[in-house]
């Protein structure tokens, strides 16, 4: 079943057109990977979904409802969580405060909290510490934990492996695999190796347009296509 549809989305940032024509269908369940070179428009795509940039023309449809005119806060309340590239953790707040802020009621659901402890034990260890003092990996864990502290239908994650140590990347992959059993993930990545291990469906964005869509298995097998769409020299 289709969860999210982007229809001929065109986004301008100030006077520059960043997205020219992004049309994409994200099915419910699993991890959908959006690949692309630097500056291809991956982050802009996610921000346009969240209503942080406004696509025009074009629209974003979530569960059959057009959400492209909604305020970012309303988009979030429809059940979409966002983990930006810079992680967006609040450095002056403790881990506990970061998480409790993301709850609807201001109280933790014990079951969900325990699940987060299981996924990221480090967060329990540093529970009362201010987030600025955490390592990059721990901040990333916190950002992901914040996205799943409430039940969500879709999580947008922007380059979560950037600058992380290999061992942490593996742990992150395990966490994503588990989260994706209950929640759809739209993952933007440059780290193809990481993306390959997770994605079921995928798309490649290039110069503001969707250049390829298909299954991850096919794409992983097609070395020529990978070179054409992802290598820096192309």
């Amino acid at each position: 079943m289709t969860l999210l549809t982007l229809n001929a989305m065109q986004t301008n940032i100030e006077q520059y057109a960043v997205l020219h024509d992004v049309t994409l269908t994200v099915p419910e369940g699993g991890v959908f990977v959006l690949l692309g070179r630097n500056g291809a428009g991956k982050t802009t795509t996610l921000r346009s979904i969240m209503g942080l940039w406004r696509p025009s023309p074009g629209s974003v449809t979530f569960r059959g409802e057009d959400i492209s005119a909604l305020h970012t806060a309303e988009v979030a309340r429809k059940g979409i969580a966002y983990v930006p590239e810079n992680m967006g953790v609040f450095g002056g707040l403790t881990i506990e405060e970061n998480l409790i802020l993301a709850t609807k009621t201001g109280k933790f659901d014990t079951a969900r909290l325990n699940r987060i402890y299981d996924l990221f034990p480090a967060l329990k260890t540093f529970w009362g510490k201010q987030a600025w003092s955490l390592s990059g990996g721990q901040k990333q864990m916190l950002a992901v934990a914040r996205a799943i502290i409430e039940p969500r239908d879709l999580i947008l994650i922007d380059e979560p492996t950037k600058g992380l140590a290999p061992s942490i990347i593996d742990a992150m992959a395990d966490a994503f695999r588990e989260i994706s059993e209950t929640t759809t993930i739209l993952l933007v990545e440059q780290n193809f190796h990481f993306a390959k291990s997770l994605g079921r469906d995928m798309a490649v964005i290039d110069d503001g347009r969707i250049a390829h869509t298909g299954s991850m298995a096919d794409f992983a097998a097609d070395k020529a296509l990978q070179d054409q769409l992802l290598s820096l020299s192309a």
């Binding site: 969240m50 942080l52 305020h71 970012t72 806060a73 309303e74 979030a76 309340r77 969580a81 966002y82 930006p84 967006g88 609040f90 450095g91 002056g92 707040l93 405060e97 970061n98 409790i100 802020l101 993301a102 609807k104 201001g106 600025w132 914040r146």
Partner: protein, 330 residues
């Protein structure tokens, strides 16, 4: 050396600055009784300036909006409170402490209400259309300041206005050879109470949590599902009300006010938020106390330098820490 910095940091870091200033002043002044009087005056002044500056700093931190019209609220508060006090002069002179307190309470409440209403108007009518456009924001709020100042002139006239004080706040407490004005103690305590209330709201409540998070990263708070613009109206109104309260307290402190009061205080308020670091209540308090203390000490030691002292203080601190003593984490 490294150990020393660590020890200082553990003892409170930049928070020790006012203590250090007070200690240096103690040596330079040499007369303990004068030093106590000046320190109390500096603290009281600092607390009133804190009231005026805290709103400006919070609003900037949360919304990246600097309201150059903020000082209009200071004047407005001073004149509204002065008018109410003049109107209730009979209660002020009465022997009943209840009537005294009621008159003061009504004056401060009137100032607060005017601040809340004015803040609402300012935010929705003046500033809402120019979010995110710094240049126009500066120009528009500056224009609003001009208009507001002219309106105050039109209503209250250009001549200085005497401000009656409640009976129970007149006079001084004498301890040995030290004399401390009661009004200063009152101003200090009121400022402290507001600071504590703000601190608790920011650190112990959900709204406060949202504000602190919003100061750091507004977009992310919205992406978590909260309408920060609605929160902002509230903060803006609160900030304006604190400015009117500060103005009202200042009116009682000066006992003679003129419409240029707002413009004069604006400079001090700006220096305070620059010194303290924009966006943090703790920084604003620290900056206000520093300005209050240094102003009073220098005024006593080198009267000619009193005005330049704020500027020198600001320059020195900016050279040491370009974003102020305790800026909000960004």
């Amino acid at each position: 050396m490294k150990n020393l910095t660590q020890i200082l940091a553990r003892m409170g870091g930049v928070n020790l600055l006012p203590v250090a200033v007070a200690a240096v002043a103690f040596v330079l002044i040499g007369v303990p009784s004068s030093w106590v009087t000046l320190t109390v005056a500096g603290l009281a002044m600092g607390m009133m300036i804190f009231l005026m500056a805290s709103g400006l700093s919070l609003v900037f931190g949360l919304m990246d909006v600097l309201n150059f019209g903020h000082s209009a609220f200071v004047s407005l508060g001073a004149f509204v409170a002065a008018s109410v006090l003049t109107w209730l002069a009979g209660w002020l002179g009465a022997d009943s402490i209840f009537l005294n307190v009621m008159a003061l309470f009504l004056a401060l409440t009137a100032a607060l209400i005017v601040g809340l209403a004015g803040g609402w108007f300012f935010e929705t009518v003046i500033i809402r259309p120019v979010y995110k456009d710094h240049l126009r924001q500066i120009l528009i709020t500056m224009g609003a300041l001009i208009v507001a100042e002219q309106l105050i002139l039109a209503v209250w006239g250009g001549t200085p206005m005497a401000v009656p004080r409640p009976q129970f706040l007149e006079g001084a407490i004498i301890l040995g050879d030290v004399s401390i004005e009661i009004y200063r103690i009152f101003a200090f305590l009121l400022g402290l109470a507001v600071y504590v209330a703000l601190y608790l709201t920011l650190n112990r409540t959900r709204i406060g949590l949202l504000i602190r998070a919003g100061v750091e990263n507004r977009e992310m708070v919205e992406a978590l599902g909260f309408r920060i613009d609605r929160l902002f109206i509230g903060v803006f109104m609160l900030g304006s009300a604190l400015a009117t309260l500060g103005g009202a307290m200042w009116a009682g402190y000066e006992t003679l006010i003129s419409p240029s009061l707002g413009a004069e205080m604006m400079i001090v308020v700006f220096i305070v938020v620059i010194i303290g670091g924009l966006g943090s209540i703790e920084g604003t308090l620290l900056g206000a106390i520093m300005v209050g203390l240094v102003g009073n000490y220098v005024g006593f030691l080198m009267p000619k330098m009193a005005l330049a002292s704020n500027m020198i203080l600001m320059m020195a601190i900016l050279m040491w820490r370009p974003s102020g003593l305790r800026p909000a984490v960004k």
